[in-house]
Amino acid sequence: MHVRHLTLKDFRSYPTAELALTPGVTTLVGLNGQGKTNLVEAIGYLATLGSHRVATDQPLVRFGAEQAIVRGAVVRDGRETMVELEITPGRANRARLGRAPVARPRDVLGTVRTVLFAPEDLALVKGDPSERRRFLDELLVQRQPRWSGVRSDYDKIVRQRGALLKSAAPLFRTRGGKRAGRHTPRPGEPPTDEARDAALHTLDVWDSHLATVGAQLLYARLRLLRDLVPDLAQCYDAVSASAANARAVYRSSLHDEVAARIADGDVPEVEQLREAILHTLEQVRDREIERGVCLVGPHRDDLVLSLGELPAKGYASHGESWSFALGLKLAAYRLLRRDLGDDPVLILDDVFAELDVGRRERLGELIADCEQVLITAAVGADVPEQLRESGTTYAVELGHVGAPLPASPPSSPNAVFEVERGGAPVSSLNTREFDSELDEPEPADD
């Protein structure tokens, strides 16, 4: 697939923006802070409903504006689809597919698929387990959008169960006298046995929810990883010109026996995983109550990355860490391409500057046959010449994308950005009024 056109309104630094894109390689060149990443971030948002840079929506909306709009025209198998997202912090975001509004934004997942690689991805190797879990789960959703619902159910169960562990901890810890009629004890009174039983039964209920949904999520992650691992080793070696045996092993929070099977690459059945979660929950119940935290389940798992015999985290050199992060992303690209019979959009945000010349050249060769590649760079010369020559290069300056730079043949007419600075609009070539395809926001559901 490829993105043919991107429209922004009040997204990051852009009051409005229209950007025409073509298949092949597009390179956006400009000094830091000019708005290159903002553009590719918007495309990434269409694919994942999230940013690769920030965890909340607020920074995505232009400072002072209430709402951002991102609209993309995507072409797949010669058919074009319009997808539009309305980002309103503090309120439910809304989405539209073609002309029709969808019930929930996540219903548009799968329309745009991207694999985005950015300096932030170094955290895949050096950062917390949550970074690696997010990598797996985002890939899961890109592969099969229905996992988005399972993921959000699971997160909610963990939050509900955590809240219960915290609030009911005093009930679980003490053993009180029996009092009929009223269940909730007054402050200072010992809890009744009924209150304790009720809390324990409620915990059982959330345990069973956690096990059911957690087992599905875990199973899906393990299947995904099984498919990803062979590509990972190949991609790592291809970018680094080595035979390093890059591996990724799933570390589960389940009890030892099952965790060992999983670490060996085995994928147990969903029902077995469900039982294992319940069993482990039983084992750790006292500790969970003591700490008031949910200690078992996919939200506590990790992906252990290693090179040969050594773990990557703490051992890999800077260059090796980059190759590893890149290897994971390229493997994800291959997996999606193979699975869906269609190329996702590959986005390389500010990465060439981080790689040595050899890695740059090899990466350039590896991605030469991708349907669409969007590259940002502060210095054009960091991007291998064959890539730039095969495609189009634009200069981005203070949110203004200029005409294609010489040396690359102009493709379709590129759009122009209108930028406001200090309140006064900077004039630009054919500035176009943005007109939203979404209805005016309904004031009643504020």
Binding site: G149, D153, Q160, A199, H201, T202, S208, H209, D446
Partner: protein, 199 residues
């Protein structure tokens, strides 16, 4: 900020569920410009509802007497009870005309995040309704979302040992939704296809 009376009205409206500051303002100015008779009817309806309507002592549904219309109706089947979260769910199910028994309104669902546990729901009242042994079937029609499911499982665990037939409205209801928004046909079908609940 507006002058006294207008701002008071906006503040009061803004406290209603689902009404944000902007809507509150819109409604307030709508009322300011509305026909005095229309506003009078609204005021009367509000006063009336507070004076006459209360909650049914048996089932927790809205009622104009000690018992609601459904509990007071001798033709309703006394052996089966449908458990719902809110009075509005009773209305939704009544529209399907599939159910001939009586209801029990819990007043919410289990949600630790919101500090709502079983003791905050009308579960003890349900248990005392079952004491006579007249009721043999319980249909759990809590919302098809996580909290509704948790409440259903909790109830099922509680009720099963009592030898009752406990069923859950069949899925087919949109997951993650609100019962009241399910259309009649879907909800009716869910009633026909209700399943015994596993706990």
């Amino acid at each position: 900020m507006y002058e006294g009376a207008v701002q008071d009205l906006i503040d009061e409206l803004g406290r209603l569920p689902g009404v944000g500051p902007k809507s509150a303002q819109r409604i307030a100015f709508h009322l300011l410009q509305a026909d005095p008779d229309d506003v009078k009817r609204l005021v009367e309806a509000l006063t009336e509802v507070k004076q006459r309507v209360r909650f049914c002592q048996t089932c927790g549904n809205v009622a104009e007497a000690e018992q609601c219309r459904i509990c007071a109706d001798a033709r309703r089947d006394r052996t089966s009870i449908c458990v719902v979260e809110e009075p509005k769910d009773v209305v939704a199910i009544e529209r399907t005309r599939e159910f001939k028994g009586r209801y029990h309104v819990l007043g919410g669902a289990i949600s630790p995040i919101d500090g709502i546990g079983p003791e905050d729901l009308r579960m003890t009242e349900l248990m005392s309704r079952l004491a006579s042994g007249e009721v043999t079937e319980i249909i759990i029609a809590t919302d098809p979302n996580l909290e509704g499911e948790a409440t259903a499982s909790y109830l099922a665990r509680l009720l099963r040992p009592m030898g009752l037939r406990v069923t859950r409205l069949a899925s087919g209801l949109p997951v993650g939704g609100d019962l009241e928004y399910a259309d009649e046909v879907t909800l009716g079908r869910a009633f026909e296809g209700r399943r015994l609940i596993d706990v």
